[in-house]
C-alpha cells in the first residue's frame, strides 16, 4: 500500500509518537515519584500524591515497553546498538524500572515509617535516574556515539559509561529533568489535595523557568558548538537496510533540516508556548497547567527529533555506520504489517485509556486517604 520510504517516515513518526506518549503519560508519574519527599510533607500527603498516579502508572509505563518493542520490530539496529552500547546507563534505567512497580505496590503494604521512607527514596531515585538518563542519552545522539559495523553488520562500541557524560549531554539531561519535574508538579496541582496543589503550582513555575533557560541555552549550544551530520551524495530513501551502503560527513549544522523545512520551527515554538502557558495557568490548579506542560513536552521532543532527521543514531567513530531513517529499518513487509496492527489497536488503546481516566477523574483529597483502608 505504501512505498518503502513512506513507511520508513511513518515509522520514524510512530517512534516519536511512542516516545512522546511515554514522556507525556509516564513523565508525570516519574515527576511525582521524584518530588514525593518535597511536595508531600508527611505520610498522608505522600499517600495523596501516590494515589493520584497509583491506578494509572502501570498503563502509562506500557508506552515505554511498547516503544522498546516497536523499536525492536521496526528499527532493530537502533534497538540493538543503543541498548548494548550504552550498557551500564541502560542497566541503571532498567533497575529504576524494576524497583518502581514494586515500590508503588509494596510501600503501602506495611505500616511502618522506616519501611515507607525506604520505598519513598527508592521511588525518588527511580524517578530522577530515568528522567536524567533519558535526557543524557538523547543528548549523546547529537554528539554521535562511538560505534561501527563490520561486514557482517556486527556492531562494536568503543567507549564506556563515563564517555556519555559530555557537558552537552548533561545539559540535555537537565532539560529532560526540569521539564518532567514541571510536568509532574502540574499534575499534582491538578489532581492532589488543595494544600499540596498550591505548593505544586509554585514548584511547577520554578521548574518551568529552569527548563526554559536550559532548553534555550542547549539550543544555542547545539547551533554553534555541536557539529551536525549529513549524508554525502544522493540520498537513497527506498533502498536496502544496510547502513554501510552510504557515506556520511560530520561538520554541517544540526539546524540544516530547520532551514530546509521552516515549519519545523513550530516545534520549539510549541515548547516555549507550553512553558508560558504553565506560568499563566498553573496557578488556577486546573487542566490548563497540565495541558500546557504536556505541550511543552511534545514540542521539546519534536524539536530534537526534527533536528536529528534523517539520523537516528550518528556514529562519531565511523560516520558511515550511522543509523538513519533510510537504512536502519525492518523490511517493508514488517513495517507494513506493524502499521496495520498499530492502526487497529492504537485507537482502542486511546479509547479505553480515556475511559479509565474519566472513571478516576477528580481530586484526591486528604480526607479520602484518611477514610480508605490501604491494603493495596
Amino acid at each position: 500500500m505504501f512505498d518503502y520510504d513512506t513507511l520508513r517516515v511513518i515509522w520514524w513518526a510512530l517512534l516519536g509518537i511512542l516516545l512522546i506518549g511515554f514522556a507525556v503519560m509516564d513523565g508525570f508519574d516519574f515527576g511525582i515519584a521524584a518530588l514525593l519527599r518535597v511536595l508531600g510533607r508527611n505520610d498522608e500527603e505522600r499517600l495523596v500524591l501516590l494515589e493520584t498516579i497509583e491506578p494509572t502508572w502501570e498503563g502509562n509505563q506500557v508506552w515505554f515497553i511498547l516503544g522498546g518493542g516497536a523499536a525492536f520490530a521496526a528499527w532493530p539496529m537502533l534497538y540493538a546498538v543503543s541498548f548494548s552500547g550504552m550498557y551500564l546507563a541502560i542497566c541503571l534505567v532498567l533497575i529504576a524500572f524494576i524497583l518502581r512497580p514494586v515500590g508503588f505496590n509494596f510501600r503501602g503494604k506495611i505500616h511502618d515509617q522506616r519501611w515507607r521512607n525506604l520505598w519513598d527514596w527508592v521511588l525518588v531515585a527511580s524517578g530522577v535516574v530515568v528522567m536524567l538518563i533519558s535526557g543524557v542519552a538523547f543528548g549523546n545522539l547529537f554528539l554521535g556515539v562511538p560505534f561501527q559495523f563490520d561486514g557482517d553488520l556486527r556492531m562494536s562500541w568503543h567507549g564506556g559509561f563515563f564517555d556519555l557524560l559530555h557537558p552537552f549531554a548533561l545539559a540535555a539531561g537537565l532539560v529532560s529533568l526540569s521539564m518532567l519535574l514541571a510536568h509532574g508538579a502540574c499534575w499534582a496541582a491538578m489532581k492532589a489535595d488543595e494544600t499540596i496543589a498550591v505548593r505544586a503550582a509554585i514548584f511547577a513555575r520554578w521548574f518551568t523557568l529552569i527548563y526554559v533557560v536550559v532548553y534555550v541555552l542547549a539550543g544555542i549550544w547545539l547551533a554553534y558548538g555541536i557539529p551536525g551530520y549529513a549524508i554525502v551524495g544522493p540520498t537513497v530513501t527506498g533502498g536496502v537496510s544496510n547502513p554501510l551502503f552510504k557515506d556520511v560527513a560530520r561538520g554541517s549544522s544540526w539546524f540544516a533540516s530547520y532551514l530546509q523545512y521552516p515549519w519545523f520551527w513550530a516545534a520549539p515554538v510549541l515548547a516555549l508556548l507550553g512553558a508560558v502557558g504553565v506560568q499563566l495557568t498553573v496557578g488556577k490548579r486546573g487542566l490548563g497547567g497540565f495541558l500546557s506542560s504536556s505541550l511543552m513536552v511534545v514540542g521539546t521532543i519534536l524539536s530534537a527529533g526534527f533536528a536529528l532527521f534523517p539520523f537516528l543514531l550518528p556514529s562519531s567513530l565511523d560516520p558511515r555506520s550511522s543509523l538513519t531513517v533510510w537504512d536502519a529499518s525492518s523490511s517493508r513487509s514488517t513495517l507494513g504489517l506493524m502499521l496495520g496492527a498499530t492502526a487497529i489497536f492504537m485507537p482502542l488503546i486511546i479509547l479505553y485509556t480515556s475511559w479509565v481516566y474519566r472513571v478516576l477523574r477528580g481530586r484526591v483529597t486528604l480526607e479520602h486517604v484518611r477514610d480508605s483502608s490501604h491494603t493495596y
Binding site: P55, T56, F72, A73, L94, M155, S330, I349
Partner: protein
C-alpha cells in the same frame, strides 16, 4: 570479530536467571486472574457478598505477584538489546513483531485495567467491574500467546528467509509465523501450566485455613473453584504437553533425542525410557527401563515411523554444515560482487543451512577453512546436555500426572462436600504448593536449554547472538540482578506469607457484619 567466550557464558547465565525468575511470577498471574474472574462472576450472578470478598482477598495476593511480574518483565524486553544485540539485529525483523503486537494488543490493556481492578470497586458498577476483570484475564492470556509466538519461532523458524544484503532474517509470511504449530502447542501448554499454578495456589492456602479452622466457608468455596479449574487445567497441561512433544519431534529431532537419551535410532515404534542413567561419554544409557511402543506413539503418532537417535542426527548435521559452508562462501562472494549469478544460485539453494556454517565460528574464524575435525566438533556441539534434559523432562511429567490425581481427588471431595474431613489430604494439598513452580521451571529448561546450542534453531547459534560488551560489564549487571532480585524475592515472599497468614479475617474482609448474606454464607 572474535567473540569473547566469557561474555557468551555470562550473558547466557544472566538471561537464564532473569527468565527463570520472571517465570516464577508470570504463570501465577496467568492462572490466578482467571480464578478471580470466576469468583467475581459468581458474585455478580448470585449477589452473595462472600464471592466478592473472595475476589478481593485473592486479588490482594494477585496484586503483589503482578507487581513482580511487571517489574521483571521489563528486564526481558531490555535484555535482547543489551546482551543479545547481534541476535536483535539478525532476527528483529521477525522476532520483534510479535513482541510489539503483544504490547499493542495485550499488555496495554492489562496495564491500563489492573489499576481499575483494585481501585474501581466503588467507582464503577458491578457489571463493569466484572468486565474489567474478564478483560484483564483475557489480556494476560493474549500476552502469553504473542510471547509464545515469538518463542515458537525460535524453536521452529517458519515464514522467514535470509537476506544477504541486510545480513539478517526477514519475514516472508507472517501468517506462518503466527500459526506456527509449535507456537500454538506451546501456548496452550504454557497457559494451562499457569492455570494449574493459580489453582494450586488457592487450593494450598485454603487448605491451610481449613487445617487451622479459620475462614472455613471462605476456604471451602475457594477450594471448590480451585479443584474444578485445576482439574481441567491439569488434564489440559498433560494432554497438550503431549501435543507439544509431537510438535518438537517434527522439527527439533535433536532435542527430542536428548530428552529421551536415545543415542541410536530404534526400530519403529520406539520405546519410552522411564528410568535410566544417561552416560554422555560412552553415548549410552545404563539401567534403562523401557516401555515398548510408547515413544513411537507420542513422537510420530504412528507405529511405523522411526525416531532418529543422536548418532544418526550428528551424521545428518555434518551434511548440513557442508551445505552451510557453500552458502557462507556464496554470501561473501555476493558481498564483493552483488550481481554474481552463480553465487546467488548457490546461496538460494543452501541458505537454509547457513546457520550450520556459523556453528563453526565457535571454533575457527573462517568457516570456509574448516577441516573435517572442525566439522566433527561443530556437529558434536549440537548435542544439548542430555542428563539435564532427560531428568528435567521426567520430573516435569511426573508432576503433571500428580496434579491430575490431586485435583481429581479434590474435585471428588468437593462434590461430596467433604473437603475438610481428611487432615492428611489438607496437609498434602498444602505441601504440594511448590510443585507447579518446580514443573514450570523445569519445563522452561527442557524447552530453552534443550534448544542449545541454537538461539534460533538451525539459523543462529546462541554464541553469535551476543553484544560487543565486555565481560566486566556483564559481571556488573549480573551482580546487580543477583543483588536486587534476591532482595525482591525476600520481600515478595515475606509479603505473600504475611498477607496469606492474615487471611480474609485478619484483613477485615470476612466475615462482614454489615452483610445480609452473612447468614446465608454461614449456612
Amino acid at each position: 570479530m572474535i567473540i569473547d567466550a566469557d561474555v557468551v557464558t555470562l550473558s547466557r547465565l544472566q538471561f537464564a536467571l532473569t527468565a527463570l525468575y520472571h517465570f516464577l511470577f508470570v504463570p501465577l498471574t496467568l492462572g490466578l486472574v482467571w480464578m478471580l474472574a470466576i469468583m467475581e462472576s459468581v458474585y455478580v450472578m448470585t449477589g452473595r457478598e462472600v464471592w466478592k470478598r473472595m475476589t478481593q482477598f485473592w486479588g490482594v495476593l494477585f496484586g503483589i505477584n503482578f507487581a513482580m511480574g511487571v517489574a521483571t518483565g521489563v528486564t526481558m524486553e531490555f535484555q535482547f538489546g543489551m546482551n543479545w544485540a547481534y541476535y536483535a539485529h539478525y532476527v528483529g525483523d521477525v522476532f520483534g513483531t510479535p513482541l510489539a503486537i503483544e504490547g499493542l494488543m495485550a499488555f496495554f490493556l492489562e496495564g491500563t485495567l489492573v489499576g481499575l481492578f483494585f481501585m474501581g470497586w466503588k467507582r464503577i458498577s458491578r457489571v463493569k467491574h466484572l468486565l474489567v476483570t474478564w478483560f484483564l484475564a483475557l489480556a494476560t492470556s493474549l500476552s502469553a500467546l504473542w510471547i509464545l509466538i515469538a518463542n515458537g519461532w525460535m524453536q521452529n523458524p517458519v515464514g522467514s528467509a535470509f537476506n544477504a544484503e541486510t545480513m539478517r532474517m526477514e519475514v516472508t509470511s507472517f501468517s506462518e509465523v503466527m500459526f506456527n504449530p509449535v507456537a500454538q502447542a506451546k501456548f496452550v501448554h504454557t497457559v494451562s501450566a499457569g492455570y494449574v499454578m493459580g489453582a494450586m495456589f488457592v487450593l494450598s492456602i485454603s487448605a491451610w485455613y481449613l487445617l487451622r479452622g479459620r475462614n472455613v466457608d471462605f476456604a471451602k468455596r475457594s477450594m471448590t473453584v480451585a479443584a474444578s479449574f485445576g482439574l481441567a487445567a491439569a488434564l489440559s497441561v498433560v494432554v497438550l504437553g503431549d501435543e507439544s512433544g509431537y510438535a518438537v519431534s517434527e522439527n527439533q529431532k535433536m532435542k527430542m533425542a536428548a530428552i529421551e537419551a536415545m543415542w541410536e535410532t530404534e526400530p519403529a515404534p520406539a520405546s519410552f525410557t522411564v528410568f535410566g542413567i544417561p552416560d554422555v561419554q560412552n553415548r549410552t544409557t545404563h539401567y534403562a527401563l523401557r516401555l515398548p511402543w510408547v515413544m513411537g506413539l507420542i513422537g510420530t503418532r504412528s507405529i511405523d515411523k522411526p525416531i532418529p537417535g543422536i548418532t544418526n542426527l550428528i551424521e545428518e548435521t555434518k551434511g548440513k554444515i557442508d551445505n552451510g559452508i557453500q552458502a557462507y562462501d556464496a554470501m561473501l562472494v555476493l558481498r564483493a560482487d552483488k550481481n554474481n549469478a552463480q553465487a546467488k544460485a548457490i546461496l538460494a539453494a543452501h541458505d537454509k543451512d547457513l546457520g550450520y556454517a556459523l556453528l563453526l565460528k565457535h571454533f575457527i574464524d573462517d568457516p570456509r577453512q574448516a577441516t573435517p575435525a572442525d566439522i566433527q566438533k561443530a556437529a558434536d556441539s549440537t548435542i544439548p546436555n542430555v542428563p539435564v534434559l532427560f531428568w528435567a523432562f521426567r520430573v516435569m511429567v511426573a508432576c503433571g500426572f500428580y496434579f491430575i490425581a490431586l485435583f481429581a481427588y479434590s474435585f471428588w471431595l468437593a462434590s461430596k462436600r467433604k473437603l475438610d474431613d481428611k487432615r492428611w489430604y489438607l496437609k498434602l494439598a498444602l505441601w504440594s504448593l511448590p510443585l507447579p513452580w518446580v514443573a514450570a521451571e523445569l519445563g522452561w529448561i527442557v524447552a530453552e536449554y534443550g534448544r542449545q546450542p541454537w538461539a534460533i534453531e538451525g539459523i543462529l547459534p546462541t554464541a553469535l547472538g551476543v553484544s560487543s560488551v565486555t565481560a566486566g560489564q556483564v559481571w556488573t549487571s549480573l551482580g546487580g540482578f543477583v543483588l536486587f532480585y534476591t532482595a525482591l524475592a525476600v520481600i515478595d515472599a515475606t509479603l505473600m506469607v504475611k498477607f496469606a497468614r492474615k487471611g480474609p479475617d485478619g484483613l477485615g474482609l470476612w466475615p462482614t457484619t454489615d452483610s445480609p448474606s452473612l447468614a446465608a454464607a454461614k449456612a
